[in-house]
Amino acid sequence: MKGKKVDRRTFIKLGASLAGASAANRFIGARAQGSGQYEPRFPIEKGARLRLLRWSGFVKSDEEYWNANTRRFTKLTGVPVDIEYITWEDVRPKAALAANLGAGPDIVMGWYDDPHLYPQRLLDVSDLAEYLGNKYGGWYDVARIYGYSDVVGHWIAIPVGAPVAALVYRQSWAQEAGFDTFPTDLDGLLKLSQALKKNGHPTGFALGHAVGDGNVWVHWLLWSFGGKQVEADGKTIAINRQETWNALEYAKELYQTMVSGVASWLDSNNNRAFLSGAISLTGNGISIYYAAKRDFPEIAKDLNHANFPVGPVGRPTEFHLFTEAFIFKYTRYPNAAKEYLRFMLEKDQAAPWVEAMNGYVTPALKAYRDLPVWTRDPKVTPYRDGIARMLYNGYAGPPGPKAAAALSEFVVLDMFADACVRGMSPKAAAKRAEDRLRRIYS
């Protein structure tokens, strides 16, 4: 009962600050309107009308704030914007359709390498990217990689942010296992996991074809040992090497501490397992915390987050989802589209929106580090830091169709599953991955 009370109080506090933020916005909006002047940075075309395709928010408040901001944009500029929300994994087929047909939504908020699959079909947004970067403390390195195309030599997408994943663990159980603070190296992580398992609290990391949770932790682990699927030239397959074998050896030991059944886990399995108390440690977005606050206040109090530890390479090598907005060249209103994105990512709009998402998406602009959402609840802070600690899909090769293909075929994930679940030797597993990568990168 007590837990519920605390929960409600924090909820009210959060609500109040959100209300404050949006009230401030309304004031700013009203002022801009009152003076009768809205000065677009990009001269909006006459009769413009936009269509946006984006993933449905991880929390409903995301959509509410995004829609409210959009309505203000429409009010100020007279440009109506139709928004289509679909499940995050369904954005790719629809965006693919648009790219192929040369018709469809003007703006798409997609994932990972999406814009790099068809850079020549996308509007050059360098001016907007530079404007936003200069104004808001610059882009994170990874944001530039996802937004800028070396193939066409300009920005093809406006990075939006990363739904960061972190290690989610039960504090009391970690303490019981002798860890008052969360380990920051791989050795410590393994020891903690083994101690947890010994106490009857196994860990759990997805090894099924989980697009998010599975890919996230195996790439982090591979990279943390210095492994990579391909060299920077995007041609030389580099997976079958000592670094990879080491990572696989480590994974095999970590696997011994996992609950049974991870081999079939998809994205939502670890959420359920963690909330039920079946596992003590997993890697996930903030969604577990979010659901715990709603339905399992006791667990919400006890769980905490930590960034993925640093491995032998000596620097963070995390991997997270990443979303960016891009405009198709076929749009009849390129300036209106750019203006819309600018408007939505300006602080007046972006700040309350990011706040409303409760830490789900970490913005790609550094200035948004300072938003209170990241520190109001210290448990959220690791999700802010994750974006500075991440590498990009296809590392160390360039993002693009080949990297996208390798990720979509779960080559790295299958390699880890081969070694952990199916008892293959690290060398055999790496060899199999090498063969598959060779086909993809040929």
Binding site: R92, P93, A96, A99, N100, L117, Y118, Q120, R121, L207, G208, H209, A210, V211, V259, S260, G261, V262, A263, S264, W265, L266, N269, R272, A273, S276, A278, P401, A404, A405, L407, S408, E409, F410, D414, A417, D418, V421, R422, D435, R436, R439
Partner: protein
Amino acid sequence: MRAGSLFRGFSERLDRSRWLGPLLTSPALLLLAIFLAYPLFLGVWLGFTNAKIGWPGRWIGLENYRLLFSDPVFRITAFNTVLYTGVTVVFKLTLGLTLALLLNQRFPGYRLARSLMLLPWIVPTVLSAIAWWWILDPQFSFINWSLERLGLIDQGINFLGDEWLARASLIVANIWRGIPFFAIGFLAGLQAIPKELLEAARVDGASPWQTFWHVTWPLLLPLTTILTTFSTIWTFTDFQLVWVITRGGPANATHLFVTLAYQRAIPGGALGEGAAIAAFTLPLLLLLSWAALRALRRQL
């Protein structure tokens, strides 16, 4: 007067098979020609190109097919698809027919039973697949829960994590979904069998089994062929069930042609290759259809 004779001429022609036939088939053909013939052509053509999403690609002949044959994942997929289709169709056919024979009788609540048995077929697959996903979940499976309570096992069965168990699980889920299709089809077929024939057989002293084998079954054969072929095609090109429950995992042990084609073409961006995989189902299905059609012609 002239209008009258024109009309008469028209209606006379309309009465001739060679005019009426094409006329009656034209709506169906028109719809199929517009919405299917062209996509089919384009799809097959794509399979001979290296098209990527957003790139038209160019003709590369049989290169995609050559690469596929040397791809172990594709070989596993081919094996999975044949196994999945073969096993499920046999079970769906026998179980569906059995169910139809049972429900063809009158008993209290037979109408309710006939409607309820359709449920697996009606619920959108995307959602029933989610239900199966829970039933087979390593942590929350109520099969595991029951077996553990009964003391039969002490650790949960890893339904979807083990390659063969995952195949078996998906096969069971597919059978579950497919039984009503056969059952309702056969039920209608059984209704069409003249009662006099069955009566006559009974009067002649045939056992129920003999009646079934010598009277009912031969009459059901054409229908069986049709139901089986269509079910085979559906199963062969199944997508949703696998995509929701395993995504083709573990270790690609449950990938089917269409899930692999989709994975490579859309998330993977390789349209040409995906189209080649999808097109690969065509010759196999053609072969099957040819056999089915021959069988049908003999039976009718």
